[in-house]
Symmetry: C2
Subunit: 190 residues, 2 copies
Amino acid sequence: MRVLGVDPGLTRCGLGVVDSLPGRRAALVAVGVARSSTEDDIDRRLLAIAEQIDEWIDLQAPDVVAVERVFAQHNVSTVMGTAQVAGIAMLAAARRRIPVALHTPSEVKAAVTGSGRAEKAQVQTMVAKILGLAEVPRPADAADALALAICHLWRPAGALAAPQRSLQAMTSAQRTWAAAEHAARRPTRG
Amino acid sequence: MRVLGVDPGLTRCGLGVVDSLPGRRAALVAVGVARSSTEDDIDRRLLAIAEQIDEWIDLQAPDVVAVERVFAQHNVSTVMGTAQVAGIAMLAAARRRIPVALHTPSEVKAAVTGSGRAEKAQVQTMVAKILGLAEVPRPADAADALALAICHLWRPAGALAAPQRSLQAMTSAQRTWAAAEHAARRPTRG
């Protein structure tokens, strides 16, 4: 399975393509950043990002597009542009009938580090290790997009369809993932 | 000049097309609502709305697409979807090289009622009067989209390019508009 991870942003939108390999391994296919100029009007910026996302999807032909779930509580000064780019990435996939998956930042952290509260640097280090890269991909948005793609590949089977499934039915790795995700979510739920 | 007003929303996205007539009058061309089902996934909902917006633009061939400016402070439960639909409307215009204008809710209220703090019902009544309609367009999202289009047609000449222009250089109607807009903006600025 090939996953395109999208870390949405109006100035820099991270894009990372990862293939699943046998034995729960993953291989880097492509990584980069779609950019728009802060000097352009918002509609031109959205168009620039959309055209780059379209190119990536058409060139890489992912089976799934995994997008970071954006919350209204995020950085208020940039959240509107971030939400709009996330929407445009979802639309680009939907136009091609490619399934879309949304993952929260804590799900992504839990998937690649085992802790939903991991620091950004730890996530990026793990992305490089998992993909067998000599260096951490730069900029951070690019590494975050790869982390999203890995998160989607490594999600527990049926995690999205059956979030209440029994812990006993999970593998050890899935239990670790679920526990980390649960721990990370607790503070935001109250 | 023909303006397509877009009142963005994921469940109901208001769409209203207005032509300018000589003597600061305006004529209704078309009004309606793009809808998506709350039972569908977000990517399918965005696709449904995008396809309806595309049809409206291609059929009505507006000179400008006027979109309500969405703020992060809006209703938190719906603001992400609203922002994403606004982004998709801007992208649809940008793909066709049609200029996009953003107007705040208080600008729209000031343009059609003279007061940036007018109630929703007052705005809708004025939309019907301005366009010579026997009844207020329903649903409210449709009327709001027409108000956006009228706001764009009636904005003071050069309002966007030169916000600091002299009050003396304005017509009486423009002064009323500018004063109402200024009054409406004051509380949110401090």
